[in-house]
């Protein structure tokens, strides 16, 4: 497994760069990662990440956008606005979770 080092912290990631150990994550790390994709994490950006962490802690899988809407109460449109391009992937990466695998 490759490892990434950032600001003196070393953490294990998978081949694509997603964190493999969810406990390595904290919001400070998310802030540092977000800077690489040109996002500054304010409250609206952080809320979905926190939901993803909580939800995946119980289900064991990274929630899909659809689930973030139906269970988390976020609207898909907002998520696309907060994280343009590949919202589910970006959020999973920032939240220290595996790449989402659900189809819908």
């Amino acid at each position: 497994m490759p490892t990434n080092t950032l600001n003196g912290r070393t953490f294990e990631v998978d081949a694509e760069g997603f964190l493999t150990r969810r406990d390595d994550w904290d919001e400070e790390l998310a802030q540092d990662l977000a800077a690489f994709i040109g996002v500054e994490l304010d409250e609206p950006h952080l809320a979905p990440l926190r939901f993803m962490r909580e939800d995946s802690a119980t289900t064991g899988v990274t929630p899909t956008l659809r689930r973030m809407q139906s269970v988390g109460g976020f609207t898909v449109k907002d998520l696309f606005a907060l994280y343009p391009g590949k919202p589910a992937k970006k959020m999973a990466w920032l939240a220290g979770l595996p790449k989402p695998v659900g189809c819908v």
């Binding site: 990434n4 898909v76 590949k86 992937k89």
Partner: protein
């Protein structure tokens, strides 16, 4: 509680492994074409914009409504521009009078077998149903109910809900002008996410540079 901190580094350190979010993609002047775009016939201008996919939905059966919806949704999640053109029976997918009542039939589907039958006798789950069964009264509504239940169990949205999801994700949906006229559909019946009723040639123009998938 805010402290003054040094500005965050905006470029990853060398050797840092991170996913490709595609944000940096797109035409860079003077750069080599991206993979898959090399073979452009002479004299044809290569499409230079971001990746596009265009789906043509021509079927109105419940099982045939889903492929484009699911793939389109996946494409949107990958940051791809998505256009969906509903034509012929596919128009039933965006007609609010019909799109929550699409049906699934056993008739003509030789791949019809039931996973539950395996519990009766192992191997039975792979046996396809006799075609005549599909013609029994009530069989289509039974099969439809079963399929909808299976979809619901997997948290797959209904067709109308799916259209809302796609629209919220930025998909562009169009009704086919010819079918719309032929089937005497009225605009008020179209799902609100449909952007317009367009001709085949309009769609061909819109689909420039897109990968086209016909369902």
């Amino acid at each position: 509680m805010t402290t003054t901190t040094a500005p965050r580094v905006t470029t990853p350190p060398p050797g840092f492994v991170m996913p490709d979010f595609g944000d940096t993609r797109g035409p860079v002047p003077g750069s080599a074409p991206a993979h898959g775009e090399q073979s452009v016939p002479a004299g044809v201008a290569a499409y230079q914009g971001r990746r596009k996919m265009a789906f043509i939905c021509s079927k109105g059966n419940l099982d045939m409504a889903y492929p484009a919806l699911i793939m389109g949704n996946a494409a949107l999640g990958e940051g791809i521009e998505v256009h969906i053109f509903f034509t012929f029976w596919g128009l039933d997918m965006i007609n609010t009078r019909t799109n929550d009542r699409l049906k699934f039939t056993l008739s003509g589907n030789t791949a019809m077998h039931m996973p539950d039958l395996g519990r009766l006798r192992p191997g039975l789950e792979h046996v396809s149903m006799p075609q005549a069964m599909g013609n029994l009264p009530g069989m289509t509504s039974f099969a439809t109910r079963m399929m909808k239940k299976q979809m619901e169990d997997l948290d797959i949205p209904t067709v109308p809900e799916f259209l809302d999801l796609l629209a919220a994700s930025g998909a562009h949906l169009y009704a086919c002008r010819l079918t719309y006229d032929m089937m005497k559909i009225i605009e008020a019946d179209l799902h609100p996410a449909v952007e317009g009723v367009i001709s085949a040639s309009d769609f061909i123009e819109i689909a420039e540079g897109a990968q086209i998938i016909f369902v």
